[in-house]
């Protein structure tokens, strides 16, 4: 007791500091969670050591993809009660534990919605093997059953895509309509005609990738705090100062700033804050503001590709394929830099007349106004959020060593900022883009439905036949196919639908297990956003701000530079992936 009191007394000065208190609390929570995890693992191991006789195997669909959640039961002929039951795991594997060895042959029945039932007879010789060493039945291919539910899920998915593409409904409303239809048909329709059944509510929820939801949520809070500090405007002004009136240098620095900011934060916010100050700088330098702003938005769309958190599509890809922050940095960043260099060269050529103009300089009054418009608003919040953001990045980089999913450092960073800066919590919760998060959740379920009924497998097999065993062709098709579609179609639903297809191709094309096709998807989805003005929200909001001046970005003006840049960067990205992998 005396010893505890001594320790408490020694710790008292440290515990008086509230930040240390928070730190101590966080460490204690981590230790408690680790302890709980260790206990649960031990409990899990203990539960696996039940006595019995093992029959195991693995289930695959006709495209070689694992079949999970299939019901497997062992029965004796003429008996309704099964001897043993099991459910297949995520990787398609299953294990049946017989309580004893029966004296007559038994039948194993495998059933799952959207597959024909499969029966296996286990004879006496096999049962002897079960008794001796257990029986491994190998890979069992289940035959697909194209049910009415297949056509309903397919029609719903296509309807959602069309409603989004033609802007009949808001993307979130369209996805929610798809979500509701699938479950209504599954439950009400399924009760009338079992062929209409798609999946259960629980099974549908299992398709929601919560890692994506929490990572996006955490990053949104962190970004919301950083965006209010004035850092973007300050950086743009520093670019103006550094360039000393040389507009070609100014545009390159601004492109670099927007690319890096988009890679670490978010290109929508970056452009929202960079555009007004860039317009002022362009007027100060005496060039067409579009010669600065269009290159900025193009760079922001490409810059995000280099990190896991740079674009929502990268977050989707990373969470689905288990590609971490470091993987994106190692495998994408250099390619993105090369693409940006190519883009920079094209921009300098395209706007060569504008950039050849010499700036006459601005009056001290205008300079002062520009400087004041670009001031750091909240220095205190800036350095605190910089510290936390640095910790989040460290969490992303080092967390992979302990299998820490990126959502955890992002949420921890957001929480730490909320504790440290004490912003209005209601305001911060409003800063989270719930519309997008709900869209993600509903979309995951709609895509899950077509995955469940087998459409994705069929589409993937078709694509597999088209591409064959040719990996460079596969990379080409994904980069340019997705890139072209992304110019007009919202890239989030496109990416979400492509993920299972890319997963199949990654498993079937030799050499594709390196995840190269996922990187191709990431590049295509983001670079395609530069093709048309409607290709991304950042493009639209930038155009909206320029409409407040006499230099608005028109659809045609954007297309003239955006489309060549799109195919230039897609080409660079494709070549980079061929070299890298």
């Amino acid at each position: 007791m005396k010893r505890i009191q001594t320790i408490a007394a020694a710790c008292e000065p440290f515990l008086r500091n509230r930040y240390l208190k928070i730190g101590v609390l966080l460490v204690l929570c981590t230790l408690l969670l680790s302890g709980a995890a260790a206990v649960s693992v031990r409990a899990g191991l203990a539960s696996q050591q039940e006595p019995g006789y093992l029959i195991s195997g693995r289930l695959e669909d006709p495209q070689g993809q694992p079949v999970s959640e299939a019901d497997i039961s062992a029965r004796l002929p003429g008996q309704s009660e099964p001897l043993a039951e099991a459910v297949s795991h995520e990787d398609g594997s299953w294990e049946l534990l017989l309580p004893g060895i029966p004296e007559r042959p038994l039948t194993i029945e495998i059933s799952r919605p959207h597959f024909n039932p499969h029966f296996l007879n286990i004879g006496m010789a096999d049962l002897r093997q079960v008794q001796d060493s257990g029986l491994w039945l190998g890979v069992i291919e289940l035959e697909r059953h194209i049910s009415a539910g297949f056509w309903v899920a397919t029609a719903v998915f296509l309807a959602v895509l069309l409603l989004i593409a033609f802007e009949v409904l808001h993307s979130t409303t369209a996805a929610l309509a798809g979500f509701s239809t699938i479950f209504l048909v599954s439950y009400i329709g399924g009760a009338i005609n079992p062929n209409l059944y798609i999946f259960s509510f629980e099974r549908g929820l299992s398709y929601i990738n919560w890692e994506v939801i929490f990572l996006v949520m955490g990053m949104m809070v962190v970004i919301a705090i950083i965006e209010g500090t004035g850092i973007f405007q300050w950086m743009a002004f520093q670019a103006y100062r550094l360039s000393r009136g040389k507009s070609w240098l100014l545009v390159l620095i601004l492109m670099l700033i927007t690319a890096v900011a988009s890679a670490l934060l978010d290109n929508f916010t970056t452009m929202l804050l960079m555009t007004p100050i860039s317009l002022q700088i362009a007027l100060a330098v005496g060039i067409n503001p579009l010669a600065l702003i269009i290159p900025e938005v193009l760079a922001s769309n490409v810059g995000g590709i280099s990190t896991l958190v740079g674009t929502p599509t990268n977050i989707l890809i990373g969470a689905y394929a288990g590609i971490g922050f470091n993987d994106f940095l190692i495998n994408q960043t250099l390619g993105v830099i090369i693409a940006l260099v190519g883009m920079g060269a094209f921009v300098l050529y395209y706007y060569r007349k504008e950039f050849s103009k010499r700036s006459g300089g601005i009056s001290p009054r205008l300079y002062q106004k520009l400087e004041s418009n670009a001031r750091i608003e909240r220095a205190d919040a800036l350095w605190k959020s910089a510290v936390v953001f640095g910790l989040v990045l460290i969490g992303f980089v080092l967390g992979e060593r302990v299998h820490l999913v990126p959502a955890v450092p992002a949420m921890a960073g957001a929480t730490l900022l909320l504790i440290w800066l004490k912003p209005d919590i209601h305001k911060m919760i409003k800063a989270v883009d719930w519309t997008t998060l709900v869209f993600f959740m509903a979309l995951f379920i709609v895509v899950g439905a077509i995955q469940e009924v087998g459409l994705i497998s069929i589409a993937a097999a078709g694509m597999g036949r088209l591409i064959g065993q040719n990996l460079p062709l596969g990379v080409f098709v994904v980069v340019f196919g997705v890139g072209t579609l992304s110019t007009a179609i919202a890239n989030i639903p496109l990416t979400a639908s492509m993920l299972p297809i890319v997963n199949f191709l990654s498993g079937s094309i030799p050499g594709a297990s390196s995840n190269v096709l996922y990187y191709a998807l990431s590049m295509g989805a983001a670079m395609g956003g530069n093709g048309l003005l409607i290709g991304g929200e950042a493009n639209l909001v930038t155009a909206g701000i320029t409409q407040q001046t006499s230099s608005p970005i028109s659809f045609k003006e954007f297309l003239k530079i955006g489309l060549p840049v799109t195919y230039l960067t897609l080409g660079v990205g494709f070549l980079w992936l061929l070299i890298r992998f």
């Binding site: 007027l283 519309t435 701000i545 006499s550």
Partner: protein, 152 residues
């Protein structure tokens, strides 16, 4: 009472000739010149993305910068000016400022390529309406040249 000229502007090269014409007119008529910038964040409706940053203030600051540039052009020509930044729907704000500031003449340029909201057809219609409703002179410009004058 001294004449008061209002020149709504959005800055940039395309508007310099129109600003110069308004400055020349103010000098010629020995009138007061008021430059106006109107921002409208309706475009944010194109996205459902939330943000806590005050984009209206950012646009106000941009507008003020644009108007200071116009003011400096006028000062070089020896004309003293006032500037005002407003938010809202352009024609409504314009009418309100005309009444509040007791404006006698409005000088407004139309977009050359028909981009933005100030297309020639829009500006001419606006000029006609405002001139009739508020009894002010409304001069429509294109590249600094007078296209039409509405005077009740």
């Amino acid at each position: 009472m001294k004449n008061r000229i209002l020149c709504p502007t959005r800055g940039g090269k395309a508007s310099y000739a129109n600003q110069d014409r308004a400055i020349a007119l103010a000098k010629e008529r020995e009138a007061d010149l008021l430059f106006l910038y109107v921002s409208n964040v309706k475009f944010l409706g194109l996205t459902s993305r939330p943000f806590i940053v005050d984009i209206e203030t950012e646009l106000d600051e941009m507008g003020e910068f644009i108007l200071i540039m116009a003011q400096e052009r006028a000062e070089k020509a020896g004309v003293q000016t006032e500037i005002t930044v407003e938010r809202g729907v352009f024609d409504k704000v314009l009418k309100a400022v005309i009444q509040e500031q007791k404006i006698s003449t409005v000088v407004l340029g139309s977009s050359k390529e028909g981009t933005g909201i100030t297309t020639e057809a829009y500006v001419q219609k606006l000029g006609e309406t405002i001139s009739q409703e508020l009894g002010v002179e409304f001069i429509v410009l294109r590249d600094g040249e007078i296209q039409k004058v509405f005077n009740q």
